[in-house]
């Protein structure tokens, strides 16, 4: 139970991915006078995606550390 298998990993990434798209779309795209992304929107999407990704990775690392601490406190893990 300590490993995510292939399917679970894929699923995990898809959730993250759909959240990332949704978040960055909502923060970066606000002009609907055209159906093409403007240069400004395009740049914003790139930076937002990069930042969100790095953010998620950092949260993931801290999450693991905190989880480990907690499990050690409870009974040295399982």
């Amino acid at each position: 139970m300590d490993q995510l298998n292939y399917k679970e990993q894929q699923e995990f990434q898809k959730i993250l991915y759909t959240n990332l798209v949704d978040r960055c779309f909502n923060d970066c795209v606000n002009d609907f006078t055209s159906s093409k992304l403007s240069t400004k929107e395009d740049t914003c999407l790139n930076k937002c995606a990069e930042k969100f990704l790095k953010h998620s990775e950092r949260v993931g690392s801290r999450f693991q550390e905190q989880n480990q601490i907690l499990m050690n406190q409870m009974r040295g893990g399982k």
Partner: protein, 94 residues
Amino acid sequence: MSFLGFGGGAPQISSEQKIKAAEAELDMVTTMFNQLVDSCHKKCFDKNYADGELSKNESLCIDRCVAKYFDANVKVGESMQSLGRSGTLGQNLR
């Protein structure tokens, strides 16, 4: 139903796994579709529901919103690939 290339690249899998993969696929398309409906609803409507019909402006806004959402999707997918982050995130939880 394949969407944005997801669901294509899996290794050899059994037919039971195929069904599960297809279900997961559908889950994701459903999630994304609902986020899309929600986001474009926020972008294109105010909360004043004077009329049940879509105005011409609202219809135009919806069409552009969906087109831009798809472009954003592709864009973000490319960003992720260029950052070489296609397999690392799930592994963080290992």
